[in-house]
């Protein structure tokens, strides 16, 4: 009896294996990329009921973040300001009070306005942690982690968008190497801060006061770490001086 199947069929199993392997690898790659916050969340820029421009308020006018987000340093949540806070400056006869963009604010606050409802403003949520993750703002901003680390340069954003992935690995990267983010506490809300703004000498003087180590000992430490003056060295020193050990236990965020 002759051969029923042509000879090239002998290669079919291998072809199938290789083909499935390639397809599988592509699918995995696609999933690994598209199913992560890096792809799904970064760049999210919803339209807000009032086109509040952070670049004017926090950038040009130089308002501190905490003027509006007033409880960021005492609460787990960074609060969205009450309509009353906007009204303080944009009330009748004050700044741009008759701008049509502020219509929802007037609807909330201005009893003489014909569209008055008394309803609070419904801002669209941009940054969001899942229900099972408990992030605490106060723990970070009080220990030298700036707003900019997670939210990006909001002071340059006309419309706020999702800048960083805020995925679990994003959190862990920083918890494993906090020195890349730590800065003097009074610079936490200065979103334009870089290590170049710090005077090295003054910094060592501050450390001397904080740690009861002499400048020489501190410089020896810098030498041991094999680091030159820069964010990482400053962060390492601050980490030592403040005893910063960001917990990496599951209970840090999940409970």
């Amino acid at each position: 009896m002759g051969n029923i199947f042509p000879k090239w069929l002998n290669w079919l199993p291998l072809q199938i294996v290789v083909g499935v392997g390639i397809i599988g690898a592509l699918v995995s790659l696609a999933v690994a990329y598209t199913f992560t916050p890096k792809y799904t969340r970064v760049g999210y820029m919803p339209t807000q009921p009032i086109p509040f421009d952070h670049s004017i308020h926090a950038g040009q006018l130089g308002m501190d973040c905490r003027y509006c987000h007033s409880f960021v340093d005492e609460s787990p949540h960074s609060n969205i300001p009450a309509a009353q806070v906007c009204w303080n400056c944009h009330g009748p006869g004050k700044v741009a009070s008759d701008s049509p963009s502020l219509e929802p604010l007037r609807a909330a606050m201005d009893t003489n306005y014909e569209g008055y409802t008394g309803e609070p403003i419904k801002w669209v949520q941009v940054h969001e942690t899942p229900d099972y993750a408990y992030f605490n703002h106060s723990a970070h901003v009080n220990r030298g982690v700036s707003c900019v680390e997670c939210h990006g340069k909001v002071n340059e954003m006309e419309v706020v968008h999702h800048e960083k992935s805020l995925s679990m690995s994003f959190c862990l990267d920083c918890h494993r190497a906090p020195e890349k983010a730590l800065r003097p506490i009074d610079q936490v809300t200065n979103l334009d801060f870089t290590v170049a703004d710090v005077d090295e000498k003054e910094f060592y003087a501050y450390l001397e006061k904080k740690t009861e180590k002499s400048v020489d000992e501190l410089k020896q430490l810098s030498h041991d770490w094999k680091l030159d003056w820069g964010q990482e060295l400053m962060g390492m020193h601050l980490k030592e001086a403040w005893d910063v050990h960001p917990p990496q236990d599951c209970t840090t965020c999940h409970r």
């Binding site: 409880f71 609460s75 609060n79 009450a82 419904k122 220990r143 030298g144 917990p247 209970t251 409970r255």
Partner: protein, 1123 residues
């Protein structure tokens, strides 16, 4: 390397411990429970309370359903776009509120089951109360709470709460009630009107009622609650005159005798009795002195479990033993007058049936501690019993002026007529309008011989019911007025000794209910004219009830106008008015022989004339918690019964009557037409008096009317649960019914018992000893049981050293790029101790944990499958001396024989010990090593963490946990109404029940609400630890000072514990109390020999037996011989 065990033979004397009768008998069912995490075929168990079509899902059915749900999932892809979520800040910011942080307020609530009030601290998030706890600043109280206090928050959000006005059962409005009733009432000058109030005494309401009575002179005020202490109050009136209450201070007594008074549990006669009692019982100082407790009671209570000497005695015999005791005390204390006065009574008592040696020695011991001894009697007993007790206390110098154990206070609380008088007035026609403003449910719980329902439904009588629940009275009444919960209302209360507290609202009434004060105001004054719409931004006028409370406060505080505001604010902040207290009453009058002459003596119960004790339910009190799922599901502290009440009787009684557990019997009292009947299932309970049946009140039962509809509807949770025992209650015998008969079994009824769930077999788990043992060897408890012969731990892997971490362990450096080493936290290592010496098994911790950690209820059917979710399991062990012929009780002799080698219970010598067990936070946790997905791992501060979002539900961890501390969510209990018919649908049905109702508002926002398929367990309230650690860091700012302060964290169970038995703290802070407790010689680990290194440890219970007492050799010796 396997460790070699050399297990010595057990010595054959002493006591043994057991949790259930199944365990004692070594029944096959029990053995199976032990070997399986859940009962065999649990998935196939048919559901007892569902319809036939819902009954049981077989594995095959389940797979079918799963297939269908997968298929359906494909159609649900419409929501691929990101849903827009909104952040809605306040319009104008609210004072004090920091979004995301809790705000605590001091308040108070009427006490359930006793005098006075429970001063509270209420936790709110953005105006939403989520948790109540005791007020630790209160001058008279330690700040614990009871299970009812903890569960009361759930009543606020009960979806079946009264949501509006009803007229003859139909929905109506407040305006209609005003026009249809209130207007006419106010104009009628209160002629023929009656107002019935509850036991709670509110100074403002009392003041307003006085004013109301002036305005409406015809109005009569009555007082009614189902479980009122009428006998106690009558005795106090005879002793002190009107408006005086005795409030025992048990820390002032070294010797205490309780005559059927469950002062540690359900009969709150004192200000803070559990805390006072345990304060007098502390044993860790060098002298090892502690108080001694004698208890006489018909069935086990929390108090009986703590007793050093317990005598079981039918409740109807309490008057008899009171007489004998009084005589002996009088003689021993040298009170010849009293002894002589008692002689004629003693002659009437048949003392041959009493344990006279017990009585004589107890009396001697009490008299020896004259001035430091106290006798208390249960509030359900008669006036005569209380007078006899008062005579004893007088002979023991326990009453009168000075620092005495039983002081009396002038409460000024006027004596009011009760329900009997009301019924009489209604019958005579002198009352035609009755307003019930009481927590009781008179149509359901009134004595059956009053025939209140018939009486009040007669023509011409208008009944108004004011309450939180739409109960039997509300459904039958002409008008129903919704009541505000105490968390929604202004009011005021005084503690038992007169410390004044203000009840302040946490939230506006959810359903426009009226508070007690509001109701009296509505009866007094016409409503204010409707003003125009409030102007935005303008401050709202304070409510009328707040102004009324403020007026009372100003009178009481007696401050000048300038100081009054500050005093008011300070009182609101602290929760009590500094310096407020009732005046002490003068010494009591001597007990007149004529008053006690007609004390009622009864024969001992026997099979044809049984005694039925109608007991306070530890879960539902008088029925007011019937629709509270937490209270329905929490196991009874003694019987471990959930979702039901049962006819409890001892072994011997059941055997003599030919009954076994779960037999449904009919209990009847009286003959012919007057016969009153109750059906209930049998449950055997050791340590009970012979031929005494204990039946809990408060269950609404599943009795149906002729149309097949439930007679008593109370809501989704409580309808059809248990058996209504109130029909047995009469005015003459409200609590103790004698002469009852039981039928042969009329059927079978499955009970949901947790006694055998998660059992730990006969290892020395709960340990105890005596004062003498402690004096001989402080560390005696450490080496009880297997711990006496632990082989050396020669395992190679030791795990991190938490005690003295090496430098590498505190400051680990990453090795490989992906290797992130484990860091031991040098500042914090958490640990807990539970002092069994103080634990009374009251369930407060279990419910507090449930409230704090969003733990769902699962329903009776699921409990029967062993799926209850309580993170804290309150174990209860009974112990008896091992079988010895001469100690077997009378009734066991001769009936033996059907099971050879069966051990007997000597009911006279049964002891009880309770032990809360939650996750032990093992350092070398067996659960962690078996988790395939690292969902449970250790943290650097010594917690056994549970990451719910990572758990895939293999349940390996639960199987490997030696303490059985892990719970599995078989269903979406948080999303669906309990009951198998609802639960089993899973994702095929849209959520119903808790998640869709107001109950979700109670959830703690800091704890994940778990879904189905996830294991959960105690985490030492990790949310509280986290917030304390973060608070320390926020405070530290740019300093390294990040250690949490001394005893800065109170975990939920610790905070709720009324006896301070639970201590939590940081091993790395030497001044934390937990280190003191761990250093005690009584400290021991559970199952130490398996090498899990648990962080929770227990302190052994110490008993203080009186060597002269009969049977004292066996007291407190159960675990000392375990091996």
């Amino acid at each position: 390397m396997k460790r070699k065990w050399h297990h010595p033979e057990a010595p054959s004397t002493g006591r043994q411990y057991w949790r259930s009768l199944g365990e004692l008998e070594d029944s096959p069912e029990f053995t199976e429970w032990l070997q399986r995490e859940f009962p065999r075929g649990a998935a196939e168990l048919s559901n007892p309370d569902a319809d036939a079509e819902d009954g049981g899902v077989s594995r095959r059915n389940f797979i079918k359903l799963m297939g269908a749900s997968t298929a359906l999932a494909g159609f649900g892809m419409s929501g691929c776009r990101r849903p827009e979520r909104y952040l809605v800040p306040y319009k104008e910011h609210v004072e004090w509120v920091v979004p995301g942080k809790p705000l605590l307020f001091a308040s108070a609530k009427p006490r359930v089951g006793g005098r006075g009030c429970d001063p509270l601290v209420v936790t709110t998030y953005e105006g939403r109360p989520v948790k109540v706890d005791g007020n630790r600043m209160h001058p008279m109280m330690v700040g614990g709470s009871d299970a009812w206090t903890q569960a009361s928050i759930l009543d606020l959000y009960d979806p079946d709460r009264s949501r509006g006005y009803l007229k003859s059962g139909d929905v109506t409005t407040a305006a209609d009630f005003e026009a249809g009733f209130l207007k006419g009432f106010r104009e009628g000058k209160g002629e023929k009107a009656a107002l019935v109030i509850g036991e709670t005494v509110s100074p403002t309401r009392s003041r307003l009622l006085d004013e109301l009575k002036k305005k409406l002179p015809g109005l009569k005020v009555f007082r009614y609650e189902a479980l009122a202490p009428n006998g106690m109050r009558a005795a106090e009136r005879a002793l002190y005159g009107e408006g005086v209450a005795q409030v025992p201070r048990l820390d002032k007594a070294q010797k205490i005798l309780s005559l059927d008074c469950d002062f540690l549990g359900l009969d709150k006669i004192g200000e803070d009795s559990p805390a006072e009692f345990t304060r007098g019982r502390r044993v860790d100082d060098d002298s090892h002195e502690m108080n001694r407790l004698y208890v006489v009671e018909p069935a086990f209570t929390a108090t009986g479990g703590m007793a050093d000497h317990r005598l079981r005695l039918a409740a109807s015999q309490i008057p008899a033993i009171a007489i004998l005791l009084a005589e002996q005390v009088a003689e021993a204390a040298g009170d010849a007058g009293l002894a002589a006065a008692l002689k004629p009574l003693v002659a009437k008592v048949e003392s041959s049936v009493m344990n006279v040696a017990w009585i004589a020695e107890a009396a001697k011991d009490l008299a020896a501690a004259k001035g430091k001894a106290a006798v208390v009697a249960g509030s359900r007993h008669s006036k005569e019993v209380h007078l006899l007790v008062a005579a004893m206390n007088a002979a023991l110098n326990a009453t009168g002026a000075g620092d005495v154990p039983v002081p009396a206070f002038k409460t000024g609380d006027a004596e009011l007529p009760g329900l009997v008088e009301l019924a009489k007035a209604a019958e005579e026609g002198s009352v035609d309008t009755i307003i019930f403003s009481t927590d009781a449910d008179p149509y359901f719980d009134a004595p059956s011989d009053l025939y209140l329902q018939d009486l009040l439904s007669s023509d011409g009588i208008t009944v108004v019911h004011h309450g939180v629940r739409v109960n039997a009275t509300a459904q039958a009444a002409t008008w129903h007025v919704p009541s505000a919960h105490y968390l929604e209302s202004w009011g005021d209360l005084t503690s038992a000794t007169g410390v004044y507290s203000i009840v302040q609202p946490m939230i506006l009434p959810l359903y426009d209910g009226l508070s007690d004060v509001d109701l009296v105001l509505a009866l007094t004054n016409a409503p204010a004219e409707k003003k125009e719409e409030p102007v935005a931004g303008a401050e709202e006028a304070p409510s009328a009830s707040m102004l009324a409370v403020r007026a009372t406060f100003d009178q009481l505080a007696g401050k000048s106008d300038a100081e009054a505001d500050a005093a008011w604010n300070a009182t609101l902040r602290d929760g009590y008015l500094t310096g407020s207290s009732f005046d002490r009453a003068a010494a009591p009058a001597a007990v007149a022989p004529v008053d006690i002459a007609n004390v009622e003596l009864a024969d001992l119960p026997y099979p044809e004339a049984l005694e039925v004790v109608l007991a306070t339910s530890s879960s539902l009190y008088d029925g007011r918690f019937a629709n509270n799922g937490w209270m329905q599901e929490v196991p009874n502290p003694i019987s471990k019964l959930t979702w039901d009440n049962a006819a409890l009787m001892n072994f011997a009684t059941a055997e003599a009557l030919g009954l076994k557990d779960e037999d449904l019997i009919e209990i009847s009292v009286g003959e012919g037409a007057d016969a009153r009947k109750v059906t209930a299932p049998v449950l055997r309970s050791p340590g009970q008096a012979d031929f005494t049946i204990q039946l809990d009140l408060g269950y609404y039962g599943a009795d149906k009317d002729k149309h097949g509809e439930l007679i008593n509807e109370v809501g989704l949770v409580g309808s059809g649960v248990g058996f209504n025992a109130y029909p047995l209650k009469t005015t003459a015998a409200p609590y103790v019914v004698v002469g009852a008969k039981v039928s042969k079994p009329v059927g079978e009824y499955k009970l949901a018992l947790t006694a055998e769930h998660y059992s730990m077999e006969g290892r020395a788990i709960a340990r105890e000893g005596t004062v003498d043992m402690l004096k001989a060897d402080e560390n005696f408890a450490e080496f009880q049981g297997m711990d006496a012969h632990i082989p050396p731990d020669d395992s190679l892997y030791k795990g991190p050293n938490y005690e003295n971490p090496t430098e590498q362990e505190t400051d680990p450096k990453p090795g490989f790029p992906m290797h992130h080493p484990f860091r031991v936290d040098p500042n914090h290592q958490w640990a807990m101790t539970v002092d069994l010496h103080s634990c009374i098994g009251c369930n407060a911790c279990t419910i507090a944990c449930q409230a704090e950690n969003n733990i769902p209820i699962v329903g009776k059917g699921e409990v029967m499958r062993g799926r209850e979710m309580h993170w804290i399991r309150m174990d209860r062990y009974f112990s008896t001396p091992e079988f010895a012929a001469e100690t077997v009780s009378e009734f066991d002799k001769g009936t033996d024989g059907e099971e050879p080698g069966r051990r007997k219970i000597d009911d006279d010598a049964v002891e009880m010990i309770t032990q809360p067990v939650a996750c032990q936070q093992c350092e070398a946790a067996p659960c962690e090593t078996v988790c395939p997905v690292n969902a449970t791992v250790h943290t650097g501060d010594g917690l056994n963490a549970m990451t719910y979002n990572r758990c895939i539900g293999t349940r390996y961890c639960a199987n490997n946990c030696p303490y059985k501390a892990r719970r599995f969510n078989y269903f979406d209990y948080n999303k669906r109404q309990i009951g198998y018919g609802n639960l089993r649908w899973g994702p095929l049905k849209s959520p119903t029940g808790h998640a869709t109702t107001s109950e979700k508002l109670q959830k703690n926002p800091n704890v994940t609400v778990r879904m189905r398929g996830v294991i959960e367990k105690c985490t030492y309230c990790v949310q509280r630890i986290s917030s304390a650690k973060i608070a320390a860091k926020v405070k530290a700012k740019d300093s390294p000072d990040i250690q949490v302060g001394t005893d800065a964290i109170k975990v939920a169970c610790q905070q709720a514990c009324p006896t301070e038995a639970i201590v939590f703290g940081n091993l790395k802070r030497t001044d934390d109390k937990v280190n003191v407790m761990k250093a005690s010689g009584r400290n021991y680990d559970l199952l130490r020999y398996i090498g899990t290194l648990p962080r929770t440890s227990y302190l052994a219970r110490i008993k203080n037996p009186n060597p002269a007492m009969p049977g004292s050799d066996f007291v407190g010796k159960a675990t000392s011989v375990m091996h």
